[in-house]
């Protein structure tokens, strides 16, 4: 169902999603925080012009407050909400058109069902809310973390910067180490680490399903592994692109 070629193509798509220019980030953050244009560096001690990562909805910059605290700023790309809205108008139109054919009627329902999820994604304050809920749900779990948002508007989230490494990166390292010894990655990964990642992953999923009724949707294998980041080194928020949702729908409905 998920050929590895497709996953690879999508993972590239993630990393290579075009970033918007720095000017836009600056004005967007300034207008969201309601500070005068050009005063960004009075509020922030540092603000990286180059984004750490760019998804199809937003990109993430690393910044530092005057207190010295390092934060992540997720800034929505220009015109994302209009584009999503237009996409859905078109899809709804197409769905209404094919809805005349009895066999295609289900398409119409699916489009409406999905539009809610997508619209929510276009507004970062919704994500901020989810982060708050997730932080609360997992407040007693020492081994599972989520970024803590401290500011969220429709177009900007400021959240704690999470140190770590993407789990796929770690596994790739073990794989290449293993290859040089003619072994498998799963043979060289320390048992303690393997145990931690696998058992925590399962517990996390079960908790979200059995207790919280709030499941982080992680659409592809690559993405779920992406978002399991891990100490030390670097982790960054990656937004789930619109395209994935389309493919996801295409595969499952």
């Amino acid at each position: 169902m998920f050929p590895s070629a497709l996953c690879d193509a999508l993972s590239n798509l993630h990393n290579d999603a075009p970033a918007h220019p720095w000017d836009f980030t600056q004005t967007q953050v300034e207008s969201s925080l309601d500070i005068p244009p050009g005063s960004l560096f009075q509020v922030f001690k540092a603000f990286d012009e180059q984004p750490l990562a760019s998804g199809s909805v937003a990109q993430v910059h690393r910044a530092q407050l005057h207190s010295g605290e390092v934060i992540a700023a997720k800034v929505r790309h220009p015109r994302v909400s209009q584009l999503i809205e237009m996409d859905f108008r078109l899809m709804a139109l197409a769905a209404a058109a094919v809805g005349w054919l009895p066999a295609m009627r289900t398409v119409k329902d699916s489009v409406y069902q999905f539009s809610h999820a997508m619209a929510a994604q276009a507004h970062l304050n919704v994500e901020g809310h989810h982060l708050e809920v997730l932080n609360y749900n997992f407040r007693n779990w020492d081994t599972v973390r989520f970024p803590r948002p401290f500011y969220a508007s429709s177009s900007v989230i400021l959240e704690t910067f999470e140190e770590g490494r993407i789990v796929t990166g770690i596994l790739d390292d073990f794989d290449s180490l293993a290859r040089s010894m003619n072994l498998q990655g799963s043979d060289v990964i320390p048992v303690e680490e393997a145990k931690f990642i696998v058992t925590t992953g399962v517990s996390l999923y079960l908790k979200m399903l059995l207790l919280d009724n709030l499941m982080v949707s992680t659409i592809f294998q690559i993405l779920v592994i992406y978002i399991f980041s891990y100490l030390p080194s670097l982790a960054f928020p990656v937004s789930s692109p619109l395209l994935e949702s389309y493919i996801y729908r295409h595969l499952f409905m």
Binding site: T106, L134, L183, L210, N213, Q221, F252
Partner: protein
């Protein structure tokens, strides 16, 4: 891999909450039902739960019978229940195939849940091929099924406040028992690995588990 300065040696951080599925009680209990059916290798009941994956499903009697028959055949071949090393990923892929063939509808939240199982299973397989995700989840799934369904396993219980409170309090015990079985399992893994290293076989894979994992690992670029 250096140690963190915090309390825990390792931590997992989920950095993207852009898309979440807010499940209703009904959605979560239906999915628990599906997972327990897979755990028990019960294809007929799994078919019942699959039909609940969307309120808009209106298959006629004949279509339902056919769908159940195919599901039962599939389960007989590929899913014999807890302890038989069920490949959950494979089972869900098969179920999704049947769902598509029989034009059963599935709502977005269920699709999300299924995809997450597939992801989790793939991650587990890559890190530790002999760890079975379904068997690990058994104690939790079984207990929760008793909370949400009557003895027949598929008629929903009307859950009062007492049941709800119990549902919240249970996990402490359940996670403890899961931790115990996980500890035992990984101790075994460690012991196996130690004997292999002691045997000087660290340049040639000899274990059956490795041989099985080999082709899929090769596919990765």
């Amino acid at each position: 891999m250096s140690e963190s300065t915090g309390r825990e040696k390792y931590q997992i951080t989920l950095v993207d909450a852009g898309m979440v599925a807010q499940l209703t009680d009904q959605e979560s209990s239906t999915f628990i039902g599906m997972l327990t059916c897979i755990g028990e290798g019960n294809g007929e009941a799994a078919a019942e739960f699959a039909l609940r994956f969307s309120d808009l499903n209106n298959l006629d009697e004949k279509a339902i019978v056919l769908f159940k028959k195919d599901m039962m055949e599939f389960f007989q071949k590929n899913c014999k229940g807890y302890g038989s090393n069920v490949d959950v990923g494979e089972v869900f892929r098969g179920i999704l195939g049947l769902i598509r063939d029989h034009r059963v509808r599935i709502d977005a939240n269920y699709a999300t849940l299924v995809i997450n199982v597939l992801c989790l299973e793939a991650l587990g397989r890559r890190i530790c091929p002999s760890y079975n995700v379904l068997d690990a989840a058994k104690p939790l799934l079984q207990t929760y099924r008793r909370f949400v369904y009557q003895d027949d396993g598929h008629t929903p219980k009307s859950s009062g406040t007492y049941a709800k409170r119990a549902k919240r309090l249970m996990p402490i015990m359940l996670y403890h028992s899961k931790k115990k079985s996980d500890n035992a399992f990984f101790k075994q893994v460690e012991a196996t690995r130690r004997t292999r290293v002691a045997g000087g076989g660290d340049t040639e894979p000899t274990d059956a588990v490795e041989q099985r994992a080999h082709p899929s690992m090769r596919q990765r670029p």
